[in-house]
């Protein structure tokens, strides 16, 4: 049984560029959520999607956007990258509309120079 998969695992961008991160949930899971984890801190909630609709958004600027596809995979986009966007971006999947038990991927580590 395949777990949550994320790509790319590592990437380096420069300030002002745009980045797209991808996530495939566990088969049968319809909800995907995204988190940002900066060094030394706990993950912070960015978005939750269920059945292709945004169900929740954390305290992040409009430069952050996401979407969920009919196969329940998801993309997180960040525009106009800042140095402070350097972080580990984690995706989690869960079964139902309300969060429930979360299962995380290995994350995408973004470095902004």
């Amino acid at each position: 049984d395949t777990g949550v998969t994320q790509s790319p695992t590592h990437l380096i961008k420069t300030r002002g560029q745009q980045v797209t991160l991808r996530c495939s949930p566990i088969s049968g899971h319809k909800s995907v959520s995204w988190y940002q984890q900066v060094l030394g801190q706990g993950p912070q909630f960015i978005f939750q999607y269920y059945e292709k609709e945004e169900r929740g958004r954390g305290n992040f600027p409009d430069r952050f956007s996401a979407r969920q596809f009919p196969n329940y995979s998801s993309e997180l986009n960040v525009n106009a990258l800042l140095l402070g966007d350097s972080a580990l971006y984690l995706c989690a999947s869960s079964q139902g509309q309300h969060t429930g038990e979360l299962f995380f991927g290995e994350g995408s580590r973004l470095t902004v120079l």
Binding site: S33, Y35, Q37, Q41, G42, P43, Q44, F45, Q48, R55, G56, G58, L88, L90, A92, H98, T99, G100, E101, L102, F103, F104, G105, E106, G107, R109
Partner: protein
């Protein structure tokens, strides 16, 4: 919003020792989970425990929802237990909140 506090922030133990990690939260939550973050950054599920007690091998967890805390017990620690332990709560708005974690070092 809900505050989640974990204690202690750091813990250093000899292999074989037991430990108790605590997670306090400031308001009612729907669910609570404990995770272990491995050196590569992946969050590994330990327990999904909105209330009551669960055990899995050397690990067990207890959540007392009415008193707004959860405890994670690790017995007979091994070096592979080292890492950061997070609790995460699911408030009524479903915007998951993580604590800052407890960094555990198990010395051989």
């Amino acid at each position: 919003g809900i505050q989640v506090e974990q204690s202690p922030p750091d813990l250093i133990l000899q292999e074989g020792a037991n430990s108790t990690l605590r997670c306090n939260f400031s308001d009612s939550v729907n669910n609570l989970q404990w995770f272990h973050q491995n050196p590569w950054g992946q969050l590994i599920n330990l327990f999904y425990i909105p209330s009551g007690t669960k055990q899995n091998g050397r690990l067990s967890a207890t959540t007392v929802a009415t008193e707004r805390y959860s405890l994670l017990y690790i017995s007979s620690s091994q070096t592979t237990d080292s890492g950061v332990y997070f609790c995460a709560v699911d408030p009524p708005d479903d915007k998951i909140i993580f604590g800052k974690g407890t960094r555990l070092h198990i010395l051989p």
